[in-house]
Amino acid sequence: MSVDKATVAKIASLARIRMDDAELDRMVPELNNILGWVEQLGEVDVAGVEPMTAVIPNTLRLREDVVDADPLTGGGKRDAVLANAPAAEHGFFGVPKVIE
């Protein structure tokens, strides 16, 4: 499978990365090179093979149902959470107006 410029523009839009025409033109052959190369995976007989989702067998744990059991990841951290925000206002993340 290969991608054309319209497809790359669509992917870029899905990924929320603005790209101008020149960038798209550059990206098309680069992506096609990579996609052409990964195509060889199609040769592998995977009948009956389960896709791997966890590399080391592990069970998911439940933490104790306690508020602020771990102070590092507990609540009450509004100012710390906002400390690196490019536009924090009145204790919230500020974003441009959303009018659809």
Partner: protein, 494 residues
């Protein structure tokens, strides 16, 4: 007095404990080396000499007070700038996180500080750990301290932990943290003549490490020898309830368990790694490694890892897919860069911020990842790659039925000049051909120096172990180290 910056982790720890020198003297020595090399090597994004001194003074005071000292007491280290460090800028070498100052400390770095280590600074890397030559950093290339005989051309220190490898090789730090997603510790260690280990997936907490591909990312380190690796890995590893994939297992005493005696051990040689047109020096180095293993008492057995050739293409679907999802968090809202063009709405702000904040390689991988996860292509690409990953993991399981560790080259060639592979992403990816399979299978693996090639550049030998068998990997590494007698180091030109 001897130059303290020639000492490794064990020698510094022991010397400080005995009182041969103070931790402060050690920190001052490395701080000076860091400052002197910065313009030429660009190994650090931020130097933190005051942090190194502060930690050293605490160790000296504890010693004077007769308090017990930690495993890394008095050892200053470099911290890859992928680990969140409280109050110190953490960028992942990207523009989008430029100036991001975490309010918290990663588990691994906190464990190291608790063990008495101090921070020399935040090390440069490939942007979001995506690269094999440290040429994708927003903060400029790292230059290897090594040069080819008779040439002044700037060489790649490897990637993505290129700042780590350059710093340890150039004696700017006795050890440094790294992270491995597809070879980002072993490949740079091999390129710079040092030792690097990634443990079993889950040994080191990923909490506070900037995520690239979460099913693959694993912290590890680089140092100058195997013992130093064992010491520092002990300090870094351990269960962390804040990481859902953290292994709930006790941390073995790897240093105490070191033994170079390979009697009764079987060393597997994977036939698929001997590829057509293999670099002659690399093939010779591998043969030498096999002879050293025999000399150490090991039995050599041929093994087969039949799906080896599919590891790289599977990796270049799985890793970008996970990256495209992980990097969705960089949106110009919560931290880092915001680019808000005049009159732009929310969606335009996302797209403009991400266009300005990500480098070319990161964009390329996000697009690949987005494509292979998109409706209609998901099964053909992503599910297929995950199935191939199962087969690769199964190959290793089968192999470990007939051997204890696997010996192979770390990289297909020695280091290459900066710029050489920049226009050809595929050629760059192929650098990781020998390191990616172990990453896909989550296995512990290390690179130890094997010798020099015809140009006088280091070559690494790779040891891959079964899951949880870091000890077996370290011991085989020690057996090689004792026989390789690798003492070469880059001649100081910076």
């Amino acid at each position: 007095m001897t130059d303290l910056t020639n000492l490794g982790v064990a020698a510094i720890r022991d010397g400080v404990a005995k009182g041969d020198f103070t931790a402060r003297e050690v920190a001052e020595g490395f701080n000076a080396n860091v400052a002197a090399a910065q313009d030429a090597l660009n190994a650090f994004i931020v130097a933190t000499p005051e942090k190194a001194l502060e930690a050293a003074e605490k160790v000296d005071a504890d010693r004077a007070a007769g308090k017990p000292l930690g495993k890394m007491a008095g050892v200053p280290i470099g911290m890859k700038d992928l680990f969140a460090t409280r109050g110190v800028q953490t960028t992942a070498a990207s523009h989008i996180l430029d100036g991001f100052t975490p309010e918290y400390e990663s588990t691994v770095s906190q464990k190291l500080w608790d063990a008495g280590a101090g921070m020399l600074g935040k090390l440069n890397l490939d942007q979001f750990a995506m690269g094999s030559s440290n040429e994708t950093s927003y903060f400029g290339n790292v230059v290897s301290p090594w040069r080819k005989q008779g040439s002044n051309a700037a060489l790649a220190p490897g990637g993505s932990s290129g700042g780590s490898s350059a710093a340890v090789a150039a004696r700017l730090a006795p050890a440094a943290t790294g992270t491995d997603t597809g070879g980002s510790i072993r490949q740079p260690a091999a390129f710079t003549g040092i030792t690097g280990i990634k443990p079993t997936y889950g040994r080191c907490s990923r909490w506070g490490i900037v995520a690239f591909a979460s099913s693959l990312d694993q912290a590890g380190l680089m140092a100058r020898d195997v013992r130093d690796c064992a010491i520092m890995l002990e300090a870094m590893a351990g269960f962390d309830p804040k990481d859902a994939t953290s292994l709930d297992l006790p941390v073995p005493e790897w240093e105490a368990g070191l033994s170079a005696d390979m009697k009764g051990k079987r060393v597997g040689i994977p036939r698929e790694y001997r590829m057509d047109g293999m670099d002659e020096d690399v093939a010779r180095s591998w043969d030498e490694g096999i002879a050293w293993m025999k000399d150490a008492g090991a039995e050599i057995v041929e093994i087969s890892l039949p799906h080896t050739k599919y590891a790289l293409p599977a990796y270049y679907i799985i890793a970008p897919a996970e990256a495209s999802s992980n990097l969705a968090r960089y949106d110009g809202v919560r931290y880092g860069l915001r680019d808000l063009p005049d009159g732009a709405g929310l969606q335009d702000m996302y797209a403009a911020t991400r266009a300005a904040g990500f480098g070319d390689e990161v964009k390329r991988r996000i697009l690949i990842g987005t494509y292979v996860l998109s409706a209609g292509f998901y099964d053909a690409y992503y599910t297929q790659a995950q199935k191939v990953r199962t087969l690769i993991s199964q190959d290793f399981k089968n192999a470990f039925a007939s051997c204890d560790v696997i010996l192979a080259p770390t990289t297909p060639t020695a280091s290459f000049p900066l710029g050489d592979k920049l226009d050809d992403p595929l050629a760059m990816y192929l650098n990781d051909v020998f390191s990616v399979p172990a990453s896909l299978a989550g296995l512990p693996a290390m690179s130890v120096p094997g010798g020099l090639n015809g140009d006088g550049l280091p070559l690494g030998l790779q040891i891959i172990g079964n899951a949880f068998d870091e000890q077996g990997v370290l011991n085989a590494g020690l057996a090689i180290e004792q026989r390789a007698q690798f003492t070469a180091k880059p001649e100081r030109w910076w």
